[in-house]
Amino acid sequence: MQLLAQVSSETDLYVAQNIFFAVIAVTMIYAAFRVVTTANVVHAALWLVVVLAGVAVQFLFLGAEFVAVTQVLVYIGAVIVLFLFGVMLTRASMGDDETVAGEKRAMAAIVGVLLFAVMAVALVDSFEDTRVDIDGPQGVTEVSDAIFSQYIVPFEAVSVLLLAALIGAIVVARKD
């Protein structure tokens, strides 16, 4: 894991790195596209796994090792499992029965494209060719220090939130 980040700091490997990025990115985009288009719910969940894994790789590119690991553990490990449970519990069909009206898809597509256009213009306009230099991976120590000093209040807030979500989920889904 550390390898990738180290490699990235060496200038002559930029090309290789960019190619690697491109491959991952294209894979992710395709996978994401399938997530939102496939008719089969289980397939969608599996495609989502690919996207999430890709995101984890992107995190590695950016030197955020700890986040990448968390991403794999939490998302691929827990969230996807939850989804699959959900699919089974709701007996959502495994087959191709996801039929959505075409007009609605078009509307959504237009909104999406519009959003993308705006964002793309804004991004290209403001960051042009700003480089991001990764000196090396972020240590877990750094992250943990930050969490438990500077960001302690949001951290506590998030923990309360999780607790609340836990209780909330139970209350909502309880059978009575």
Binding site: M107, A108, I110, M119
Partner: protein
């Protein structure tokens, strides 16, 4: 008011003083007492033994006494505030100035005093002002201004109010809203006095509106019946129309003549008279204020509310719709006379808006009075007509004559109204033709007072109306042959003629009214429930009987005044004594009331009275009365006696034989169709089609746009999709057919209420906004 102290020092000291008799300085007490009485009646009225009437009567009595004392103090002030004392005061007032400043002041005062008659007396109003509020660098003051005009009004208002209070204890006795009635009488009295005393135009607006709302409440006193509340609404809304003129006119004055700094009446008048105020602004202000007068003082074409206002109890009609509130417009013009004097260029002219409105009203309303069956409506149109006299007088520059007519009219018209109330009290109706006739036998005392009032109104020598009417006519300067017009402000021939016609009409319709009410045979007696049965619970309908003392005594007093008040302004040379004898009897009214020579009043010329004119005018009035007398007292009466029928007119009069006369009669009966125009077309139009149209636009266009915007966001997405997607898949298809089909489809699926549609709109909106922002930053 900084600039006035500095720049206006000269004019100020020559016009206003704060130093005067205690009574003059504290005249606001007169207005305060009825206001206190209003509050007391409101909160405790029902618990009191006389249901609140005692508060009102006590307060107004004290006010009345104070008003008399104030009047006396004013006379003393007017006569003794001489040049010498004045010079000293001026020197004190400008104490920080150099010696020359004092000289200037004295000089200016000297000039003013000479103009006043060279008797060493200056006409100095008393003003007490305090800051009310301050906003945007403008001070709004509250204060009182006491001069002859306001003292005169104080007397009239408090006296008639007191008499009406006493009268009402009997007339309205037993009414379910007896206490409310007195509360509003008190409030009205307070508001009217507030209006009269105000020293600035803003306060005048306040008082003007307050009397309007009291009038609304009192006209609608018996609001259970729709015609009454309709009349109240009509009165209020018509007055509001005039208020547009008032607001615009006053605002124009504030900026043009008050220089955007002061509402002070005196300063505004002074600024106008000193010149330097845009003439255009004055024309606009004068025209707008004339509109205000048209509504409040019932001038053509906004007079229609006044006859309808007779739906209120009779004492209210006497107090508000005859003697006091309706003259507020006249009072306002008199107060702000320089506006009209300069704005309409009254001096040396022969026609202007105000005078013409007055003249038309005078004759137009006089004609309408002929076709009324309701005794109060006759009097109402008569009031309109007489107010026309006053407006015309002001328009032709006869300031004192107008104010004098206001003064005399208040007494005899209140007398007539209360008299008509007394009759109606007996017969429980106001309809002269159906329920009256021959009342002379049943109510001789009321008859005498009513007759005196009628004669005074008709302007027959030597009753009050004669003197004031004559003064107006002579001051029109209209007819040189009869003499006396030489020094009148202008030469208003048209208005003179209208005044003459008005005199004849007045005499004639009052004769008709007296005949129909008091002479001939009693036509009532049949049971006929009419408006007035709220007023009392006597219940029985036998022979009508004379009213009680609380009704009669006010009538006696007013009759006495109707006879006597004309004498306070003998024209010069009328009795013995020199022409300008201040100690004599002549022109006392003019001397005390007209602010001649003060810097806030223009140099108005006064016509020389003419014996000839007085005689001709009297003859005209007698001729009018005579014609009506011949018709009713001679012809109709004889016919009635011959046939034994109850007649109210000749069966073969001109209206039955002559088509033109019939058409005229129809026009009059329909009140020149003005009510149709207002109620049917304007009000009905606004309330109905126009308001509905506006609301339709609201619901369908504006709201539709908004609802539509949401739909369109969805729709346009779909439409574009249809074009692109379908185009790719299916190739070229008939575009128009597809679009129309698509639109039909969309219209069915509008408003899905699905979360995702809303989310789509939200995202799209966010995208567009963000895009806008990006563009904005790029600019």
């Amino acid at each position: 008011m900084f600039p006035r102290l500095a720049a206006g020092a000269v004019s100020e000291v020559s016009t206003v003083t704060n130093e005067a008799n205690w009574l003059l300085e504290n005249a606001w007490l007169i207005a305060l007492l009825p206001a206190i009485s209003f509050v007391l009646i409101l909160f405790f009225g029902k618990k009191m033994p006389f249901k609140g009437a005692e508060f009102g009567i006590t307060a107004v009595s004290i006010s009345f006494i104070l008003a008399i004392l104030t009047g006396a103090a004013w006379m003393e002030h007017r006569d003794n505030f001489t040049l010498d004392t004045f010079g000293e005061k001026a020197a004190v007032l400008v104490d920080d100035g150099a010696g020359s400043a004092v000289d200037n002041v004295t000089l200016a005062v000297g000039t003013a005093a000479e103009a006043a008659g060279g008797d060493g007396q200056a006409y100095v109003a008393v003003q007490k002002t305090t800051q009310w509020l301050q906003s945007g660098g403008v001070e709004f003051n509250a204060g009182i201004m006491v001069d002859g005009l306001s003292v005169m009004m104080l007397f009239v208002v408090t006296m008639i109010s007191l008499l009406v209070h006493i009268y009402s204890t009997d007339y309205v006795g037993g009414d379910r809203r007896y206490t409310h009635f007195f509360a509003f009488l008190s409030l009205f009295t307070a508001s009217m006095l507030f209006f009269v005393l105000s020293d600035n135009i803003l306060q005048m607006i306040v008082g003007w509106e307050l009397v309007g709302v009291c009038s609304f409440a009192l006209i609608g006193h018996w609001w259970e019946e729709k015609p009454n509340s309709d009349a109240a609404l009509k009165a209020f809304i018509t007055n509001r129309v005039g208020d547009v003129g008032l607001l615009v006119g006053m605002i124009t004055l504030f900026f043009a003549a008050g220089k955007g700094m002061t509402f002070d009446t005196i300063t505004i008048n002074e600024n106008i008279l000193q010149g330097g105020v845009s003439h255009t602004a004055l024309v606009v202000a004068a025209a707008c204020l004339t509109i205000a007068v048209m509504s409040k003082s019932g001038q053509f074409v906004l007079h229609t509310w006044l006859p309808d206002a007779m739906a209120g109890p009779t004492p209210v009609s006497a107090l508000i719709h005859a003697a006091t509130m309706v003259v507020a417009g006249i009072y306002m013009v008199a107060r702000l006379f320089p506006v009209f004097w300069e704005g309409m260029q009254i001096d040396g002219s022969s026609i202007n808006f105000l005078a013409t409105v007055g003249a038309v009203t005078l004759v137009g309303a006089g004609l309408l009075a002929f076709v009324q069956d309701d005794i109060k409506k006759v009097l109402a149109y008569s009031t309109v007509s007489q107010l026309g006299y006053m407006a015309m007088a002001l328009g032709v520059g006869a300031w004192t004559a107008a104010v004098f007519h206001l003064f005399t009219h208040a007494f005899f018209k209140a007398n007539l109204f209360l008299g008509s109330g007394s009759v109606a009290h007996a017969v429980h109706s106001f309809d002269m033709k159906k329920d009256m006739g021959g009342m002379r036998k049943f109510m001789p005392k009321t008859y005498v007072t009513f007759l005196i009032g009628s004669l005074a109104l008709a302007g027959l020598f030597p009753l009050a109306g004669f003197w004031s009417k004559d003064e107006i006519l002579v001051n029109t300067g209209g007819w040189g042959i009869l003499g006396g017009s030489a020094s009148a402000p202008g030469s208003y021939t048209f208005h003179f003629v209208m005044g003459m016609i008005g005199a004849a009409l007045t005499a004639a319709y009052m004769t008709r009214c007296v005949y129909l009410t008091f002479h001939g045979e009693y036509r009532g007696g049949h049971h006929d429930d009419h408006a007035e049965d709220h007023a009392d619970d006597h219940g029985h309908h036998g022979e009508p009987h004379e009213s009680g003392p609380r009704i009669l005594y006010p009538l006696y007093i007013l009759s006495a005044f109707s006879i006597l008040v004309g004498f306070v302004n003998f024209p010069p040379g009328f009795l013995t004594g020199s022409k300008k004898d201040p100690a004599g009897w002549q022109e006392r009214f003019l001397h005390f009331i007209e602010p001649a020579g003060s810097s806030y009043f223009p140099a108005v010329g006064h016509a020389t009275p003419s014996w000839w004119l007085a005689i001709v005018a009297s003859l005209v009035a007698v001729a009018g009365a005579g014609a009506a007398f011949t018709y009713y007292f001679v012809k109709v009466d004889r016919l009635a006696q011959r046939t034994g029928e109850h007649l109210v007119g000749l069966p073969n009069g001109v209206t039955t034989t002559n088509a033109l006369a019939r058409a005229g009669h129809k026009l009059l009966v329909n009140k020149y169709y003005l009510d149709h125009l207002y109620t049917g077309i304007i009000a009905g139009g606004t309330k109905g089609p126009i308001a509905k149209a506006a609301y339709w636009v609201n619901q369908n266009v504006l709201d539709g746009t908004v609802d539509g915007a949401g739909r369109t966001a969805v729709q346009s997405g779909k439409l574009v999709y249809e074009k692109i997607d379908q185009g790719v898949v299916d190739g070229a298809i008939n575009a128009s057919g597809r679009t129309s089909a698509a639109i039909g489809e969309e219209l069915r699926h509008i408003n899905t209420g699905r979360v995702q549609n809303y989310a789509a709109i939200m995202f799209a909106g966010a995208a567009i906004l963000a895009g806008a922002f990006v563009l904005l930053l790029a600019l």
